[in-house]
Amino acid sequence: MLNNFSVSLRKGIRHTHVFDIVNIAVMLFISAVMIYPMLYVLSMSFSSFDAVQTNKVTFYPIGFSLTAYKMALSGSGILTFFSNSVFYAAVGSLMHVSFTMLAAYPLSFENFCLRKVVNVFILITMFFGGGLIPFFILIKDLGLYNTRWAILLPGLTSAWSIIISRIYIKESVGISLIEAARIDGGNEFWIFLRIVMPISLPIIAYLGLTSAVGHWNSYFNALLFLQDRDKQPIQVYLMRVIIQNTRSDFTAPAGPEQIAMQHYLQQIKYATIIIATAPILLVYPFLQKHFVKGIMIGALK
């Protein structure tokens, strides 16, 4: 059998079929379409003022210049927004992982007395909900309006996260291991922290990364609930600057600096986009493995 396989494999590879050529061409085209917008923004942000004004930039920077970045980073508090996003992503994902795993652990045991009830309880929330307006009023009534908790608390966990986590714990952490630990006298918290969590690193990675990326990319809750600028994440800043086109966000001490900024306004927008999305773009190739794993587990369900 193996011999046959390698024979046919060799036969196949010897010729490059037309199919393969067409396939590779299509793949390259698709990749180009995927990359080009980012490439363009990157090029525009690093080009010189003249090149941008005269529309010369196509695929690569012309007349390399960092001025746009210098201007984008100064005088408009962008660093505050950036660090807010870091805060929400880091703290939010930490909370999400802890909270979700804490809930998934009891639910992974067949004979946990509340298992069925809680599972149904959680499953229902996947299909029904109050909607935007009741949620909005709830946050206000809880006194969370204009606080960081309005961002952190709703993201503590979700039905989806709990479901795939409990499936993972059940499949991958042997019940015998836990039973042995129980006999040895460990209480459930100890078992959870010392045994289950270290073995669950793949699902923890998935939860943490999806939560972090989700927080970094989100804007709507912040738009809705955060009035103070010093709490807002960078996506809200980006939205104001580019989509709402509010120039007042580019504040600099009045004088030649401010006038220069007005000239560079278009280019600063490109630079700001890169600043807002660079962390994700730099990091995502390393993350994708975990995202894929998480989806696989969910797909089984």
Partner: protein, 303 residues
């Protein structure tokens, strides 16, 4: 007897129960209490009076919505955006997965895959921002290309006719790579022997793809299709809010954005909750029907 049994079980599971309580509280607060808030749809809700003090008006707000001049437009836009998204967005991840699976060079395959995931990780704000910059009127690069090719010089974001195109195209751009993950996984689980038999039978690459690869994804495709069609009444507001403006409400305004405008911006809590509730109920019914039909046809269902 029974009570003794119950108290024994409670004692055994005591720690686990303590662990599960926070989550129960979380869902009660953030999921179930808002459900109670749906009663606003049947009241003339005034925040000061709260849920128990506001007067009941029954189906008044629903009647308001059904007789409003906007309902036709809202339903039409919601459904059409989803229909176009499915027509253009559903087959592409499948085709992409099929073609990707045929690539021989593993390294090349991995690189293409990584590139295809990139748009997914880009945030909605960033993507809409890029679109607005590239299609800036009059000097965005795409605007200039369109004019050079003989097209009209307009502001694409002010043109109702362009909205659905922009929305669906950007959705496809973002979703194709990530959406293909599931299909790729199914394809990699096909045993290579089946392909060998086909090669012996004289099938070329294309035929192998159509007769082996594609059918193996049948169940997955059917499931994903049910989910897509079941969601036909549901369009999220986040991207549309960033993309639309009063000039494009005609084609851009969907049920969820209408709820946002009337409810959050205008503070018409009762009315917008009623509209939102209508949307949820219809959603659920459509999903249910889609599921039932699919089960009849293919014995595939999500329940």
């Amino acid at each position: 007897m029974k009570i003794q049994h119950i108290s024994k079980v409670l004692r055994r599971d005591r720690d686990l129960i303590i662990m599960i309580i926070p989550v129960i509280v979380f869902f009660i607060i953030f999921s179930y209490i808002p459900m109670v808030g749906l009663t606003m749809a049947f009241q003339d809700f005034i925040p000061k009076k709260g849920f128990f003090g506001s007067d009941w008006v029954g189906l008044y707000w629903f009647k308001e919505f059904f007789t409003s001049i906007f309902i036709g437009r809202l339903i039409r836009n919601t459904v059409l955006i989803n229909v176009y998204s499915i027509i253009f967005g559903f087959p592409l991840p499948i085709i992409f997965a099929l073609l990707l699976n045929e690539l021989c060079n593993v390294r090349f395959k991995k690189i293409i895959q990584t590139i295809s995931y990139m748009p997914y990780f880009v945030s909605t704000v960033v993507m809409v921002s890029i679109m607005m910059l590239m299609m800036n009127y009059p000097d965005g690069i795409i605007t200039r290309i369109v004019v050079a090719l003989g097209g009209p010089q307009t502001n694409f974001f002010m043109d109702p006719g362009m909205f659905r195109t922009l929305y669906v195209a950007s959705g496809v751009w973002q979703g194709m790579g990530f959406g293909s993950i599931l299909y790729i996984a199914v394809l990699t689980s096909i045993s290579p022997e089946i392909y060998e038999y086909a090669i012996i039978d004289g099938a070329n690459r294309f035929q192998q793809m159509i007769h082996i690869s594609l059918p193996s994804m049948r169940t997955t495709i059917a499931t994903m299709l049910i989910l897509s069609i079941g969601g036909i009444f549901s369009v999220g507001y986040e991207k549309i809010i960033l993309m639309y403006n009063p000039a494009t409400y005609e084609t851009a305004d969907v049920i969820s954005t209408y709820v946002y405008r009337r409810g959050i911006i205008n503070s018409e809590f009762s009315f917008s909750t009623a509209v939102g509730l209508f949307n949820s109920v219809v959603n659920f019914i459509v999903l249910w029907i889609a599921n039932k039909i699919s089960y009849r046809l293919t014995e595939v269902s999500i329940c």
